[in-house]
Protein backbone atom coordinates (compact mmCIF):
# COMPACT_ATOMS: atom_id res chain seq x y z
CA UNK A 1 0.00 0.00 0.00
CA UNK A 2 0.95 3.68 -0.16
CA UNK A 3 1.26 5.22 3.29
CA UNK A 4 -0.45 8.61 3.45
CA UNK A 5 0.99 9.47 6.87
CA UNK A 6 3.15 12.24 5.40
CA UNK A 7 4.23 13.68 2.05
CA UNK A 8 6.88 10.95 1.54
CA UNK A 9 3.95 8.73 0.39
CA UNK A 10 6.10 5.59 0.90
CA UNK A 11 5.15 2.91 -1.60
CA UNK A 12 6.80 -0.05 0.11
CA UNK A 13 4.48 -0.41 3.09
CA UNK A 14 2.93 -3.87 3.25
CA UNK A 15 0.29 -5.56 5.32
CA UNK A 16 1.12 -9.23 5.89
CA UNK A 17 -0.65 -11.53 8.33
CA UNK A 18 -2.16 -8.53 10.09
CA UNK A 19 1.24 -6.84 10.52
CA UNK A 20 2.24 -3.48 9.07
CA UNK A 21 5.68 -3.81 7.51
CA UNK A 22 8.22 -1.11 6.59
CA UNK A 23 6.24 1.84 7.97
CA UNK A 24 7.84 4.25 10.42
CA UNK A 25 6.25 4.85 13.81
CA UNK A 26 4.18 7.70 12.45
CA UNK A 27 2.98 5.65 9.49
CA UNK A 28 2.27 2.68 11.75
CA UNK A 29 0.09 4.88 13.97
CA UNK A 30 -1.64 6.39 10.94
CA UNK A 31 -2.54 3.00 9.48
CA UNK A 32 -3.17 0.93 12.62
CA UNK A 33 -5.42 3.50 14.31
CA UNK A 34 -7.58 4.47 11.37
CA UNK A 35 -10.72 2.98 12.95
CA UNK A 36 -10.35 5.00 16.17
CA UNK A 37 -12.20 8.17 17.05
CA UNK A 38 -14.33 8.18 13.88
CA UNK A 39 -16.63 11.07 13.03
CA UNK A 40 -20.40 10.56 12.96
CA UNK A 41 -22.83 12.63 10.88
CA UNK A 42 -24.29 15.43 12.98
CA UNK A 43 -26.24 18.67 12.64
CA UNK A 44 -26.11 21.23 15.46
CA UNK A 45 -24.55 18.62 17.72
CA UNK A 46 -27.29 15.99 17.15
CA UNK A 47 -26.46 12.74 15.40
CA UNK A 48 -28.33 12.35 12.09
CA UNK A 49 -27.95 10.09 9.06
CA UNK A 50 -25.38 10.88 6.37
CA UNK A 51 -27.97 12.15 3.84
CA UNK A 52 -29.40 14.60 6.38
CA UNK A 53 -25.92 15.95 7.21
CA UNK A 54 -25.10 16.42 3.51
CA UNK A 55 -28.47 18.15 2.91
CA UNK A 56 -27.83 20.47 5.87
CA UNK A 57 -24.41 21.34 4.41
CA UNK A 58 -25.97 22.13 1.01
CA UNK A 59 -28.61 24.37 2.61
CA UNK A 60 -25.98 26.15 4.68
CA UNK A 61 -23.74 26.78 1.64
CA UNK A 62 -26.73 27.94 -0.46
CA UNK A 63 -27.74 30.50 2.13
CA UNK A 64 -24.17 31.68 2.86
CA UNK A 65 -23.29 35.21 1.73
CA UNK A 66 -19.50 34.75 1.81
CA UNK A 67 -18.46 31.11 2.01
CA UNK A 68 -14.95 29.64 1.85
CA UNK A 69 -13.61 26.16 1.25
CA UNK A 70 -10.56 25.21 3.26
CA UNK A 71 -8.28 22.21 3.79
CA UNK A 72 -8.12 19.25 1.40
CA UNK A 73 -4.42 18.54 2.01
CA UNK A 74 -5.09 14.91 2.94
CA UNK A 75 -7.72 14.45 0.23
CA UNK A 76 -7.02 12.97 -3.19
CA UNK A 77 -6.60 14.97 -6.39
CA UNK A 78 -10.08 13.80 -7.41
CA UNK A 79 -11.60 15.29 -4.24
CA UNK A 80 -9.59 18.49 -4.64
CA UNK A 81 -10.86 18.89 -8.22
CA UNK A 82 -14.45 18.48 -7.00
CA UNK A 83 -13.86 21.09 -4.28
CA UNK A 84 -12.55 23.53 -6.89
CA UNK A 85 -15.77 22.97 -8.87
CA UNK A 86 -17.83 23.72 -5.74
CA UNK A 87 -15.85 26.92 -5.15
CA UNK A 88 -16.44 27.93 -8.76
CA UNK A 89 -20.16 27.24 -8.47
CA UNK A 90 -20.41 29.20 -5.23
CA UNK A 91 -18.17 31.94 -6.67
CA UNK A 92 -16.32 31.79 -3.35
CA UNK A 93 -12.87 31.51 -1.74
CA UNK A 94 -10.75 28.36 -1.71
CA UNK A 95 -7.55 27.81 0.24
CA UNK A 96 -5.51 25.14 2.00
CA UNK A 97 -2.84 25.03 4.72
CA UNK A 98 -0.09 25.84 2.22
CA UNK A 99 -0.96 29.54 2.45
CA UNK A 100 0.80 29.60 5.82
CA UNK A 101 2.97 26.56 5.09
CA UNK A 102 5.14 25.95 1.99
CA UNK A 103 2.85 27.22 -0.78
CA UNK A 104 5.26 29.95 -1.94
CA UNK A 105 7.99 27.39 -2.55
CA UNK A 106 5.71 25.08 -4.55
CA UNK A 107 4.48 28.05 -6.56
CA UNK A 108 8.07 29.10 -7.35
CA UNK A 109 8.77 25.54 -8.57
CA UNK A 110 5.61 25.44 -10.71
CA UNK A 111 6.51 28.83 -12.19
CA UNK A 112 10.03 27.50 -12.87
CA UNK A 113 11.65 30.11 -10.62
CA UNK A 114 13.24 27.40 -8.48
CA UNK A 115 14.96 24.40 -10.11
CA UNK A 116 13.59 21.18 -8.65
CA UNK A 117 14.02 17.46 -9.03
CA UNK A 118 12.67 14.12 -7.77
CA UNK A 119 13.50 12.22 -4.61
CA UNK A 120 14.72 9.29 -6.75
CA UNK A 121 17.26 11.62 -8.39
CA UNK A 122 18.32 12.81 -4.94
CA UNK A 123 18.84 9.21 -3.83
CA UNK A 124 20.85 8.34 -6.95
CA UNK A 125 22.89 11.49 -7.47
CA UNK A 126 22.90 14.03 -4.64
CA UNK A 127 26.18 14.89 -2.97
CA UNK A 128 25.54 18.00 -0.83
CA UNK A 129 22.18 17.59 0.92
CA UNK A 130 20.98 20.65 2.81
CA UNK A 131 18.10 20.49 5.29
CA UNK A 132 17.16 24.13 5.93
CA UNK A 133 14.58 24.85 8.61
CA UNK A 134 13.14 21.34 8.58
CA UNK A 135 13.53 18.37 10.88
CA UNK A 136 12.39 15.29 8.94
CA UNK A 137 13.17 13.10 11.97
CA UNK A 138 9.61 13.79 13.12
CA UNK A 139 7.80 15.25 10.13
CA UNK A 140 9.02 12.93 7.32
CA UNK A 141 10.54 10.07 9.29
CA UNK A 142 11.84 7.96 6.38
CA UNK A 143 13.07 10.87 4.25
CA UNK A 144 16.74 10.35 5.10
CA UNK A 145 16.65 6.56 4.97
CA UNK A 146 14.67 6.15 1.73
CA UNK A 147 15.58 9.14 -0.38
CA UNK A 148 18.42 11.32 0.76
CA UNK A 149 21.31 10.74 3.16
CA UNK A 150 21.51 7.03 3.92
CA UNK A 151 20.68 5.03 0.77
CA UNK A 152 23.36 4.07 -1.71
CA UNK A 153 22.29 5.53 -5.05
CA UNK A 154 23.23 4.74 -8.64
CA UNK A 155 25.96 7.40 -8.58
CA UNK A 156 26.49 7.39 -4.81
CA UNK A 157 27.74 3.90 -4.05
CA UNK A 158 30.21 4.51 -1.23
CA UNK A 159 27.87 5.19 1.67
CA UNK A 160 26.79 8.34 3.43
CA UNK A 161 29.99 9.21 5.28
CA UNK A 162 31.99 9.36 2.03
CA UNK A 163 29.52 9.96 -0.76
CA UNK A 164 27.19 12.51 0.84
CA UNK A 165 27.86 15.87 2.43
CA UNK A 166 25.12 16.75 4.93
CA UNK A 167 24.29 20.33 5.89
CA UNK A 168 21.70 21.05 8.58
CA UNK A 169 20.53 24.62 9.14
CA UNK A 170 18.29 25.17 12.14
CA UNK A 171 17.75 27.40 15.16
CA UNK A 172 18.51 24.45 17.45
CA UNK A 173 20.49 21.23 17.42
CA UNK A 174 17.77 18.89 16.18
CA UNK A 175 18.02 15.12 15.91
CA UNK A 176 19.29 15.36 12.32
CA UNK A 177 21.71 18.15 13.25
CA UNK A 178 23.35 15.59 15.55
CA UNK A 179 24.13 13.49 12.46
CA UNK A 180 26.28 16.32 11.11
CA UNK A 181 29.69 14.95 12.10
CA UNK A 182 31.96 13.59 9.39
CA UNK A 183 31.56 15.16 5.93
CA UNK A 184 28.88 17.44 7.31
CA UNK A 185 28.12 20.83 8.80
CA UNK A 186 25.55 22.14 11.24
CA UNK A 187 24.75 25.86 11.12
CA UNK A 188 22.88 27.21 14.11
CA UNK A 189 21.07 30.06 12.44
CA UNK A 190 19.79 33.12 14.24
CA UNK A 191 18.78 35.04 11.15
CA UNK A 192 18.08 33.23 7.86
CA UNK A 193 18.38 36.41 5.79
CA UNK A 194 21.89 36.98 7.16
CA UNK A 195 22.71 33.41 6.19
CA UNK A 196 21.41 34.06 2.65
CA UNK A 197 23.63 37.14 2.63
CA UNK A 198 26.63 35.09 3.82
CA UNK A 199 26.15 32.66 0.92
CA UNK A 200 25.90 35.57 -1.53
CA UNK A 201 29.11 37.09 -0.15
CA UNK A 202 30.90 33.74 -0.24
CA UNK A 203 30.01 33.44 -3.93
CA UNK A 204 31.94 36.69 -4.40
CA UNK A 205 34.83 35.41 -2.31
CA UNK A 206 33.94 37.63 0.64
CA UNK A 207 33.36 36.69 4.28
CA UNK A 208 29.91 37.03 5.85
CA UNK A 209 28.47 36.44 9.30
CA UNK A 210 28.26 32.67 8.72
CA UNK A 211 31.14 30.59 7.41
CA UNK A 212 29.66 28.90 4.33
CA UNK A 213 32.53 28.97 1.82
CA UNK A 214 33.31 25.31 2.57
CA UNK A 215 29.75 24.27 1.68
CA UNK A 216 30.03 26.01 -1.70
CA UNK A 217 33.37 24.28 -2.31
CA UNK A 218 31.72 20.90 -1.64
CA UNK A 219 28.83 21.77 -4.00
CA UNK A 220 31.28 22.55 -6.75
CA UNK A 221 32.65 18.99 -6.55
CA UNK A 222 29.32 17.47 -7.64
CA UNK A 223 26.86 17.62 -10.52
CA UNK A 224 23.84 17.31 -8.22
CA UNK A 225 23.15 19.02 -4.88
CA UNK A 226 19.84 19.65 -3.16
CA UNK A 227 18.21 21.91 -0.58
CA UNK A 228 15.20 20.64 1.36
CA UNK A 229 13.42 23.69 2.74
CA UNK A 230 10.83 23.64 5.51
CA UNK A 231 8.74 25.93 7.65
CA UNK A 232 11.78 27.21 9.56
CA UNK A 233 13.16 28.55 6.27
CA UNK A 234 9.81 30.01 5.22
CA UNK A 235 9.33 31.95 8.46
CA UNK A 236 13.06 32.73 8.72
CA UNK A 237 12.92 34.51 5.35
CA UNK A 238 10.25 36.87 6.76
CA UNK A 239 8.47 37.09 3.44
CA UNK A 240 11.67 37.80 1.48
CA UNK A 241 11.42 34.82 -0.90
CA UNK A 242 13.05 36.75 -3.70
CA UNK A 243 16.35 36.80 -1.78
CA UNK A 244 16.26 33.01 -1.50
CA UNK A 245 15.28 32.49 -5.15
CA UNK A 246 18.09 34.83 -6.15
CA UNK A 247 20.54 32.88 -4.01
CA UNK A 248 19.62 29.59 -5.66
CA UNK A 249 19.89 31.18 -9.08
CA UNK A 250 23.39 32.48 -8.27
CA UNK A 251 24.60 29.20 -6.76
CA UNK A 252 23.35 27.42 -9.88
CA UNK A 253 25.74 29.49 -12.00
CA UNK A 254 28.49 27.94 -9.95
CA UNK A 255 27.22 24.42 -9.06
CA UNK A 256 23.95 22.53 -9.75
CA UNK A 257 21.57 22.95 -6.81
CA UNK A 258 17.93 21.82 -6.73
CA UNK A 259 15.19 22.69 -4.27
CA UNK A 260 12.49 20.37 -2.87
CA UNK A 261 9.98 21.50 -0.24
CA UNK A 262 10.04 19.40 2.89
CA UNK A 263 7.52 18.71 5.60
CA UNK A 264 3.85 18.97 4.82
CA UNK A 265 0.61 17.01 4.71
CA UNK A 266 0.32 14.01 2.38
CA UNK A 267 -1.25 15.86 -0.56
CA UNK A 268 -0.61 19.55 0.05
CA UNK A 269 1.42 19.74 -3.14
CA UNK A 270 -1.51 18.02 -4.89
CA UNK A 271 -3.79 20.86 -3.81
CA UNK A 272 -1.29 23.44 -5.10
CA UNK A 273 -0.99 21.67 -8.46
CA UNK A 274 -4.75 21.09 -8.80
CA UNK A 275 -5.56 24.75 -8.20
CA UNK A 276 -2.64 25.87 -10.36
CA UNK A 277 -3.94 23.80 -13.30
CA UNK A 278 -7.45 25.25 -12.81
CA UNK A 279 -6.76 28.94 -12.13
CA UNK A 280 -2.98 29.51 -12.28
CA UNK A 281 -2.69 30.05 -8.50
CA UNK A 282 -1.61 27.62 -5.77
CA UNK A 283 -3.85 28.81 -2.90
CA UNK A 284 -5.73 31.82 -1.43
CA UNK A 285 -8.02 32.10 -4.45
CA UNK A 286 -11.25 34.04 -4.83
CA UNK A 287 -13.52 33.00 -7.69
CA UNK A 288 -15.56 36.16 -7.27
CA UNK A 289 -12.44 38.32 -7.82
CA UNK A 290 -10.94 35.77 -10.25
CA UNK A 291 -7.59 36.23 -8.52
CA UNK A 292 -5.32 35.02 -5.78
CA UNK A 293 -4.06 37.28 -3.01
CA UNK A 294 -2.63 36.88 0.51
CA UNK A 295 -5.79 38.60 1.75
CA UNK A 296 -7.83 35.65 0.41
CA UNK A 297 -5.94 33.19 2.64
CA UNK A 298 -8.40 31.44 4.95
CA UNK A 299 -6.55 32.78 7.98
CA UNK A 300 -6.82 36.38 6.71
CA UNK A 301 -10.49 35.94 5.83
CA UNK A 302 -11.12 34.76 9.39
CA UNK A 303 -9.04 37.50 11.00
CA UNK A 304 -10.77 40.23 9.00
CA UNK A 305 -14.21 38.62 9.44
CA UNK A 306 -14.79 38.40 5.69
CA UNK A 307 -16.59 35.04 5.64
CA UNK A 308 -19.74 33.69 7.26
CA UNK A 309 -19.50 29.97 6.40
CA UNK A 310 -16.66 27.51 5.83
CA UNK A 311 -16.58 24.05 4.29
CA UNK A 312 -13.58 22.53 6.10
CA UNK A 313 -12.22 19.29 4.63
CA UNK A 314 -9.68 17.10 6.41
CA UNK A 315 -8.11 19.75 8.60
CA UNK A 316 -8.58 21.00 12.15
CA UNK A 317 -8.25 24.80 12.16
CA UNK A 318 -9.18 25.38 15.79
CA UNK A 319 -6.10 23.33 16.69
CA UNK A 320 -3.74 24.29 13.90
CA UNK A 321 -4.24 28.04 13.43
CA UNK A 322 -2.82 30.79 15.64
CA UNK A 323 -5.25 32.34 18.10
CA UNK A 324 -5.80 35.49 15.99
CA UNK A 325 -7.53 33.26 13.43
CA UNK A 326 -8.85 30.34 15.51
CA UNK A 327 -10.63 32.72 17.90
CA UNK A 328 -12.81 33.87 14.97
CA UNK A 329 -14.04 30.35 14.13
CA UNK A 330 -16.96 30.47 16.62
CA UNK A 331 -18.34 33.47 14.68
CA UNK A 332 -18.87 31.57 11.42
CA UNK A 333 -20.84 28.47 10.41
CA UNK A 334 -18.65 25.44 9.99
CA UNK A 335 -19.23 22.31 7.92
CA UNK A 336 -16.55 19.75 8.72
CA UNK A 337 -15.85 16.79 6.42
CA UNK A 338 -13.35 14.47 8.11
CA UNK A 339 -12.87 10.77 8.81
CA UNK A 340 -12.08 11.57 12.44
CA UNK A 341 -13.72 13.54 15.20
CA UNK A 342 -11.59 16.65 15.41
CA UNK A 343 -11.54 19.55 17.83
CA UNK A 344 -13.15 21.71 15.14
CA UNK A 345 -15.91 19.13 14.62
CA UNK A 346 -16.84 19.61 18.29
CA UNK A 347 -17.87 23.19 17.55
CA UNK A 348 -19.11 22.65 13.96
CA UNK A 349 -22.74 23.14 12.94
CA UNK A 350 -22.53 20.21 10.49
CA UNK A 351 -20.23 17.18 10.65
CA UNK A 352 -19.94 14.80 7.70
CA UNK A 353 -17.82 11.66 8.14
CA UNK A 354 -15.47 10.60 5.40
CA UNK A 355 -12.85 7.92 4.68
CA UNK A 356 -9.07 7.91 5.05
CA UNK A 357 -7.49 8.49 1.65
CA UNK A 358 -5.03 5.71 0.91
CA UNK A 359 -6.43 3.37 3.55
CA UNK A 360 -10.15 3.15 2.74
CA UNK A 361 -10.31 5.19 -0.41
CA UNK A 362 -8.28 5.27 -3.63
CA UNK A 363 -7.25 8.03 -6.02
CA UNK A 364 -4.11 9.98 -6.69
CA UNK A 365 -1.81 12.14 -4.57
CA UNK A 366 1.28 14.21 -5.34
CA UNK A 367 4.47 13.61 -3.37
CA UNK A 368 6.47 16.58 -2.02
CA UNK A 369 8.69 16.48 -5.14
CA UNK A 370 5.76 16.54 -7.56
CA UNK A 371 5.68 12.83 -8.45
CA UNK A 372 2.11 11.55 -8.83
CA UNK A 373 1.30 8.41 -6.82
CA UNK A 374 -1.73 6.10 -7.23
CA UNK A 375 -3.10 5.03 -3.87
CA UNK A 376 -3.77 1.34 -3.13
CA UNK A 377 -6.33 1.21 -0.33
CA UNK A 378 -6.49 -1.84 1.93
CA UNK A 379 -10.10 -1.36 3.07
CA UNK A 380 -13.23 0.14 1.58
CA UNK A 381 -15.86 2.66 2.56
CA UNK A 382 -19.30 3.49 1.14
CA UNK A 383 -18.46 7.17 1.27
CA UNK A 384 -15.31 9.26 1.00
CA UNK A 385 -14.35 12.89 0.28
CA UNK A 386 -15.16 12.50 -3.43
CA UNK A 387 -18.62 11.04 -2.69
CA UNK A 388 -19.45 13.76 -0.13
CA UNK A 389 -18.14 16.64 -2.24
CA UNK A 390 -19.86 15.37 -5.41
CA UNK A 391 -23.16 15.16 -3.51
CA UNK A 392 -22.68 18.72 -2.30
CA UNK A 393 -21.80 19.91 -5.81
CA UNK A 394 -24.91 18.24 -7.26
CA UNK A 395 -27.12 19.69 -4.54
CA UNK A 396 -26.02 23.28 -5.03
Amino acid sequence: MICTGCSCLCDDVEIAEGKILNACERGYRHISKYMENRAKPAVEGKEVDLDRAIEAAIEMLKSAKNPAIYGLDTSTIEAQKTAVKIAKKLNCYIDDNSSFCLGEFVEAILRKELPSSTLEDVRDKAYVIVYWGTNPYHSLPRHLSRYSYYPRGAKRQRGYDEDRYLVVIDIRKTEIAKLAKKNAKFIKVENDLELVDSFMKALDGKAGKYDVAGILREMKKADFNVVFGGLGLKYGLRGNFKAFIELLRNINKFAPLYFIPSGFHANMRGFNETLFEAVNAVNSYSFSSASSSPEFAFTELLKREKIDTALIVGTDPIASLPYEASSKLPKIKKIVVDPRKTLTSRIAEVVIPSAFSGIESGGEMVRSDGVRIKLKPIASSEFDDVYVLKRILEGL
Partner: protein
Amino acid sequence: MMRLTRLIKFETRIVVARVSEEIRKATIYLNPEFAKRCGIKEGDVVAVSRGNRGLRFRVKLLETAPEDGGIIPNSIFSNFLADFESFKSFRADIELSEGDESTEEDVIRIIMQRK
Protein backbone atom coordinates in the same frame (compact mmCIF):
# COMPACT_ATOMS: atom_id res chain seq x y z
CA MET B 1 8.55 23.58 51.50
CA MET B 2 7.93 26.14 48.77
CA ARG B 3 10.64 26.32 46.11
CA LEU B 4 12.21 29.76 45.74
CA THR B 5 11.94 29.51 41.95
CA ARG B 6 8.15 29.37 42.31
CA LEU B 7 8.27 33.14 42.69
CA ILE B 8 10.42 33.85 39.64
CA LYS B 9 9.40 34.28 35.98
CA PHE B 10 11.97 33.34 33.34
CA GLU B 11 12.02 34.61 29.79
CA THR B 12 12.28 31.67 27.43
CA ARG B 13 12.50 30.88 23.74
CA ILE B 14 9.74 28.51 22.57
CA VAL B 15 10.19 26.53 19.38
CA VAL B 16 7.08 24.95 17.86
CA ALA B 17 7.93 21.57 16.36
CA ARG B 18 6.61 18.10 15.79
CA VAL B 19 7.39 15.32 18.24
CA SER B 20 6.78 11.62 17.75
CA GLU B 21 4.42 11.24 20.72
CA GLU B 22 0.72 11.96 20.39
CA ILE B 23 -0.06 15.02 22.50
CA ARG B 24 -3.49 15.46 24.08
CA LYS B 25 -2.48 17.47 27.14
CA ALA B 26 -0.28 20.55 27.22
CA THR B 27 3.35 19.41 27.35
CA ILE B 28 6.54 21.46 27.12
CA TYR B 29 9.93 19.87 26.42
CA LEU B 30 12.57 21.96 28.17
CA ASN B 31 16.29 21.85 27.58
CA PRO B 32 17.69 20.05 30.68
CA GLU B 33 20.33 22.73 31.39
CA PHE B 34 17.80 25.55 31.02
CA ALA B 35 15.34 23.74 33.30
CA LYS B 36 18.07 23.27 35.91
CA ARG B 37 18.94 26.98 35.81
CA CYS B 38 15.28 27.81 36.36
CA GLY B 39 14.85 25.25 39.15
CA ILE B 40 12.30 23.30 37.12
CA LYS B 41 12.16 19.50 37.19
CA GLU B 42 10.64 16.89 34.89
CA GLY B 43 6.97 16.41 35.85
CA ASP B 44 6.53 19.96 37.20
CA VAL B 45 3.67 22.08 35.91
CA VAL B 46 4.67 25.49 34.55
CA ALA B 47 2.62 28.47 33.43
CA VAL B 48 3.70 29.75 30.02
CA SER B 49 2.40 33.21 29.19
CA ARG B 50 2.63 35.55 26.27
CA GLY B 51 0.92 38.91 26.47
CA ASN B 52 -2.52 38.29 27.92
CA ARG B 53 -2.62 34.61 26.91
CA GLY B 54 -1.33 31.77 29.02
CA LEU B 55 -1.63 28.02 29.59
CA ARG B 56 -0.20 25.48 32.02
CA PHE B 57 2.15 22.80 30.69
CA ARG B 58 3.58 19.55 32.11
CA VAL B 59 7.37 19.59 31.83
CA LYS B 60 9.44 16.93 30.08
CA LEU B 61 13.17 17.27 29.45
CA LEU B 62 14.70 16.95 25.99
CA GLU B 63 18.34 17.31 24.90
CA THR B 64 17.37 18.69 21.46
CA ALA B 65 15.27 21.53 22.91
CA PRO B 66 16.79 25.01 22.38
CA GLU B 67 19.45 25.95 24.94
CA ASP B 68 17.48 28.96 26.17
CA GLY B 69 14.06 27.36 26.37
CA GLY B 70 11.90 24.55 25.13
CA ILE B 71 9.75 22.96 22.48
CA ILE B 72 5.98 22.97 22.48
CA PRO B 73 4.67 20.36 20.03
CA ASN B 74 2.61 21.76 17.16
CA SER B 75 -0.87 21.56 18.69
CA ILE B 76 -3.82 23.58 19.88
CA PHE B 77 -1.63 24.60 22.83
CA SER B 78 1.28 26.01 20.81
CA ASN B 79 -1.02 27.70 18.32
CA PHE B 80 -3.05 29.30 21.10
CA LEU B 81 0.13 31.11 22.19
CA ALA B 82 1.58 31.74 18.71
CA ASP B 83 0.79 34.42 16.19
CA PHE B 84 1.50 34.54 12.47
CA GLU B 85 4.73 36.49 12.72
CA SER B 86 6.15 34.05 15.26
CA PHE B 87 4.45 30.87 14.19
CA LYS B 88 7.50 28.62 14.58
CA SER B 89 9.36 30.35 17.39
CA PHE B 90 8.48 32.97 19.98
CA ARG B 91 9.51 34.29 23.37
CA ALA B 92 7.33 33.74 26.41
CA ASP B 93 7.50 33.88 30.20
CA ILE B 94 7.65 30.68 32.18
CA GLU B 95 7.12 30.11 35.91
CA LEU B 96 6.32 27.18 38.16
CA SER B 97 2.62 26.72 38.73
CA GLU B 98 0.10 24.83 40.84
CA GLY B 99 -2.54 22.50 39.44
CA ASP B 100 -2.68 20.31 36.36
CA GLU B 101 -1.65 21.02 32.80
CA SER B 102 -4.24 22.65 30.48
CA THR B 103 -6.42 20.41 28.33
CA GLU B 104 -7.82 20.79 24.82
CA GLU B 105 -11.23 21.49 26.41
CA ASP B 106 -9.74 24.39 28.40
CA VAL B 107 -8.45 26.02 25.20
CA ILE B 108 -11.72 25.48 23.31
CA ARG B 109 -13.62 26.99 26.25
CA ILE B 110 -11.45 30.13 26.13
CA ILE B 111 -11.91 30.43 22.36
CA MET B 112 -15.69 29.91 22.58
CA GLN B 113 -15.98 32.51 25.33
CA ARG B 114 -14.72 35.13 22.88
CA LYS B 115 -17.79 34.63 20.70
